[in-house]
Amino acid sequence: MDMLSRLKRKLAGMSISQGITLLIFVTVLTVTMVLPLIQMLRMAFLGEGGVFVGLENYRRYFGNPLLARSIRNTIDISFWTTIISTTLGFFYAYGLTRSNIKFKTFFRYTALIPIFIPTVVHALGLIYLFGRQGILTRAFNLDIEIYGRLGIIMAEVIFTFPQAFLMFLVALKFTDGRLYEAADAMGIPAWKKMFFITLPEIKYTVVNVLFVCFTLAFTDFGAPKVLGGQFNVLATDIYQQVVGQFNMNMGAVVGTLLLVPAFASFIADRVISSKNAGTLSAKATTLVIKKSYARDGFFYVFCTAITASLLLLVGALFVGAFAYFYPFNMAFTLRHFDFPQAQGGINAFYNSLLMAGLTAVLGTIFVFVYAYLMEKVNGFGGIQRYGKLLGILPLAVPGMVIGLSFIFFFNSQANPLHFIFGTIIILVLANVISFFSVPFLTISACLKKLDKEYESVGDSMSIPRWKTFLRVSVPLSLPAILESSMYFFVNAMVTVSAMVFLVSPRFNIAAVAITQMEENGRPSQAAAMALLIFGINISVRILYEVSVKLIQFKLRKRETTNGN
């Protein structure tokens, strides 16, 4: 075959416009994610004035006993958080899937409370409960040292528990009841069923949960910032190095350390998900849960205890936000909702709303088109493989690192995109990148399920691809689109770690304002702001749940009225 016809064949297989769109999208993600990361990695090896110094920065870092101690601290709290959260998450999910307790819906939603508030607020709630003037401290005459190791571990457990719980919930929900029936027929005792059926079935999830909890605790900034005291961790070190001492290179060094568990977690997840695909047969029967008062009793107590703790945490925020001067004057007041101007006042909240709204809308549009280009366009194998990898890469990049690498990259005068620095654009961008992967995976999975012949039919009717996209793919993916928007919104409302480096005094956001108000000894106003975030996030979640129910209802109506 001659060159010309080979070229012709190659070109005919691709649509030029789709190819260009694909290239643009992959380039945008490369420029906004990969280049900043590379810039941060470079910084770690540069000294004063941008001279290459090799591993000198690392030597200095590990040579400093105070800083080296942070690593031990971080590993220590991450380790205990992982053990506790994984255990609690497993039993909570087990109770909700494998026992006959009532109020499962209530238990399920209450467990999600921590997702809707920033991690600083988990810490703030703990201070209100266990601090020197804490509600529980006073009520039971407790003496718990909440500032430091114990407090941080508690806050990180609250932060990671919903993640562990949700992952276990999914894993435990889908099982093949026939396995348990077969075991019963053979007279196998309950503990053996647990160790030989249940745990092997969810072993990949267990590994995943361990990694996720460890990474989240390892890289969290909010809780140690508030509760740390003399107990330093890596995330607070970065902040001190960069914001406190303007030592950018040292910040980059710590940034690379934060990447280590995140990358290990990322690789573990990739290996596991390739092994974990489609193990459940279509013939699987649902598990019939047997009667057991002892088991149900245990889970009533267990789930109620967890739920009560979480509600107590939110309750403490209410007390802090509405009491005139806790604990001395408990009169009801709204004065704490008058936020200090130094932190941007109520505007910080409006800014957050605007930012989260933009993140939800623009992020979802971008991710949807991106996932569509990866799944439904033919003939760009190489770029598409790279693009898919790029889509899941943010899983391995903690918010702190994104924030840091954004400063290094966009704050450089030489960068033509420098103008976005200090504006809302960079905040939205950092949020979209930080939370890119989950929506990307959700939407990709949804698009994969759509009949691949829709595009072929469209082609045969001369309908342009963009029209098939808008009229067929988008409406059919509506639930995934809503889920992704909600995910973007809620996370953008609560995230602090990427934001602390990027907000400007002129444009502050609520989650960062909470951290600052707490630092400045204004916990009541911090609690008030936290409640605003909590309220808006719960509302968005409810809006999402109702919309999905409505869509399902409409679809079911379309399907059940029989047409004969």
């Binding site: 005919a12 829709y454 072929s456 045969s460 399907e559």
Partner: protein, 330 residues
């Protein structure tokens, strides 16, 4: 000649899906591409549609080299096994979607009339405002057919359109598709693995196996004169006998039972009598005790023949129905 497929080869990586495939299709013909799963028949259809591009070879539509022509410019309608109806549009909406795009010269009223016309043709006028999932599989497939013909395409491609349906519906739709095709005088190419479907519907059958074309011919021709043992075996049942240096083949229904043994006749021992409805199939051993021979007898005659398992039987293999293949071919 309407469509010419010339020396098409299609490779997916190292795997060859089509190996030097050539065929010609006349205007108004109903052509079935028949073969076992994985033989390349769907790839051939998708290559004709332009949904896949050949590694080498050419496709001419109406005499024009259309090998690299975009699918949208080939002017065909397509029906898939999965129906591929847009679930968020009503039945009439599905048909209008294509019309609005392609027939820009039509007024809205004309488009609607056209859509309703085709719906009447497939007998779905009463269901026009329903959504696809409210209809049975057969009705959904008729909608897909209506959507495909609404644009008055030059030819129709059907990718196993009946495979997902129940036997009863399948038989009914066979007749319907064929009669619509004939009334519109439209060229149609259908992929199927069901030999009965191909025999009853097609003007011409392209038999494929292992990425190559084995035989092209009218249903009768392919059935009566299969060019090789694969075709013979794939379409219907065939007995192969090794005789005096060559392989001779005969269909079960061509074998006659005789009372007296002639010198050319064979004696067999009955192994098993299988009632199959109209016909009864007799499984019997040749004298060598290893080769099995099958013959079909109208069931109504079975009682008169007074057959029993392990009994002996004389068979005549009429010369005119014997097909010769090179020795060892089967």
């Amino acid at each position: 000649m309407f469509l010419q497929i010339k020396d098409i080869t299609k490779k997916f990586g190292k795997q060859t899906a089509l190996n030097n495939v050539s065929a010609e299709i006349e205007k108004g013909e109903f052509v079935c591409i028949l073969g076992p799963s994985g033989c390349g028949k769907t790839t051939l259809l998708r290559t004709i549609a332009g949904l896949e591009l050949p590694t080498s070879g050419q496709i001419f539509i109406d005499g024009k080299d259309s090998t690299y022509l975009h699918p949208a410019k080939r002017n065909f309608g397509i029906v898939f096994q999965s129906y591929a109806l847009f679930p968020n549009m009503t039945i009439v909406g599905n048909i209008m979607f294509g019309l609005q795009q392609k027939k820009k010269s039509m007024t809205k009223q004309e488009m609607e009339n056209k859509a309703l016309d085709v719906l009447r043709m497939v007998d779905l006028y009463d269901h026009r405002n329903k959504y696809p999932r409210q209809l049975s599989g057969g009705m959904q497939q008729r909608t897909a057919l209506a959507r495909a013909i609404a644009l008055s395409p030059a030819f129709l491609l059907l990718d196993e359109p009946l495979s997902a349906l129940d036997a009863k519906v399948r038989h009914k739709l066979r007749t319907e598709i064929r009669s619509i095709q004939q009334s519109l005088k439209i060229t149609a190419i259908m992929v199927t693995h069901d030999q009965e479907e191909a025999l009853t519907m097609a003007d011409k059958i392209i038999v494929m196996n292992n990425s190559v074309v084995e035989q092209i011919g009218a249903p009768r021709e392919v059935y009566d004169k299969p060019v090789n043992p694969f075709v013979a075996n794939f379409i219907g049942t065939m007995n192969f006998l090794q005789r005096s240096g060559q392989t001779r083949a005969i269909r079960p229904e061509q074998i006659e039972i005789v009372d007296h043994r002639d010198e050319h006749d064979v004696t067999v021992r009955i192994k098993h009598i299988e009632f199959k409805g109209v016909l009864t199939r007799i499984h019997a051993f040749l004298p060598n005790q290893t080769t099995m021979i099958y013959l079909d007898v109208p069931s109504e005659q079975i009682d008169d023949l007074q057959l029993n398992e392990n009994g002996m039987l004389f068979l005549r293999l009429p010369q005119e129905h014997l097909i010769d293949y090179p020795q060892g071919a089967a």
